[in-house]
């Protein structure tokens, strides 16, 4: 074991170079193949793809640009994600703290949780109609459970010892909750947010690919597919990947900055 457990987030130059070998290799092979196949409907060259990526502000197919479509998707993700946090974090804190509430709520959670978020799409459209509302609902469903489950775990592993220390120093039940339970479970909640954001990001792209939407990266990819513009599809995928990595980095940096104490006592 060992190397996977390393909490060291510093990355050395040789590591970066080693990590780049495979992606660069694939790009190279892709380029060779596209040259060989010479058919933009199957495998566009990177020149074509980059010509889309390098002008992200230009309107595409007379509609929103790559950048604008990204913002639409991000806006939806953030709305659904924040809504999920607002509901899931307090609920998780209460369920983790009170055995009684947990007994009531847990079976319901376990029943709903395995349903893939996208399976809710028809119901979402029936309830919230096509567009913003139904997509937000899907994202909410997708990010709600990771946040809830990790908040629950966070509260349930709070050490009794900490609570006893707080009690001997004179903390009331409310104070124990505010000054011990919440800070002790924050790293778990944060991990939940990280997982939830990744799920939400996948949900938004999938939801936007369904009929009825008129903007967003998922929509752009499907629209480009219908027009046979494969280079736009790949460009859209690249943007989706970049935003995914960037958000994950954000959560990782937050983890290192604020929760470095976790697991080390």
């Amino acid at each position: 074991m060992g190397y996977l457990n390393s909490r060291n987030i510093m990355i050395t130059l040789p590591q970066i170079i080693k990590g780049l070998v495979i992606p660069v290799g694939i790009l190279f092979i892709w380029q060779l193949l596209s040259y060989q196949i010479h058919n933009n409907f199957i495998l566009p060259g990177w020149g074509e793809i980059c010509s889309i990526l390098f002008i992200p502000g230009e309107p595409l197919f007379g509609g929103p640009s790559l950048l604008e479509n990204s913002f639409y998707s991000l806006e939806r993700v953030l709305a659904g994600f924040l809504l999920a946090i607002i509901v899931a974090v307090p609920l998780g804190l209460i369920c983790g703290w009170s055995k009684e509430v947990y007994t009531y709520v847990n079976p319901f959670i376990q029943i709903i949780r395995p349903i893939p978020p996208i399976a809710w799409m028809p119901l979402a459209i029936a309830w919230f109609s096509i567009g913003f509302g139904s997509i937000i609902f899907i994202i909410f469903i997708g990010s709600f459970f990771p946040v809830l489950i990790s908040t629950l775990d966070g509260v349930r592993v709070v050490r009794i010892h900490w609570l006893e220390v707080a009690e001997t120093l004179g903390a009331t039940t409310t104070e124990k909750f505010l000054t011990v339970v919440i800070p002790a479970s924050l790293p778990f909640i944060w991990t939940g947010l990280r997982v939830a954001f990744a799920v939400a990001w996948m949900c938004v792209v999938a939801a936007e690919m369904l009929p009825g939407t008129s903007a967003g990266l998922g929509y752009l990819i499907m629209y480009a597919y219908n027009l046979g513009q494969i280079q736009v599809i790949v460009a859209g995928m690249v943007i989706i990947g970049i935003i995914g990595i960037a958000s994950d980095c954000f959560f990782r940096i937050g983890q290192a900055r604020f929760f470095s104490w976790q697991g080390k006592e």
């Binding site: 001997t168 120093l169 004179g170 104490w261 006592e265």
Partner: protein
Amino acid sequence: MKDILVLDGISKVFSDGISVYPALSNISFAIRKREIVCLMGPSGCGKSTVLRIIAGLMKADAGMVHSGVCDEPACIHAAMVFQEHGLFPWLSVYDNVAYGLRLKIRSFKETEIRKRVTTLLFLVHLEAFSSSLPHQLSGGMKQRVAVARALAIEPEILLMDEPFSALDSYTRMELEDEVLRIRHEMNTTFLFVTHNPEEAVYLADRIIVLSARPATVRDVIPVSFPYPRDIGDPQVIEVIRLVTRMVTSKEK
């Protein structure tokens, strides 16, 4: 000197729903201000239970814990230092020590808190580490922070539940001297659970020896050597032997 804590006929029975296990039986003793009293006894005899009852973490089934300071049963003002330091890992050393002072029952002003915490950090020689997080400290330093945190609420008595047993022996000796120095400087009263006869004889004014379960007070050994004590002194060694014999012998 007047009594600061009186235990009067404390009994405790544990139950797992099927059978009952008597833990403490009619334990009575008193502790005077500025005393260091060590509580010893065979493993599992209920020494920690006594401390937990005094600290209010557990209720006795019979008997009373009185404070010498007031008659209200709720006003026994004890703080506890555990074997596991129990520092809050997300708070800095400073905020850990300030924790008890920021609670509603005290609601000190931030300037008053600063004054007290700074004084305490000097007392335990950790003034340079006030913004460190607990995981950046050594085991001995963590336990010093735990002591400072407990002292911050100005308890009538400090309950120490085998606080140094997880430390290496050099650090342990250092912290034992700290205890004596803190008593000297702050007139603190200590009730100190330990397994270590040397530690008990080095620190205590009196050693209370409990019997095996259900625990009763088996004997009280006064230790009258002047401080600082030399645990190599033949007379001191004699007392250490006596204590060791009392704790390990099976007879009641």
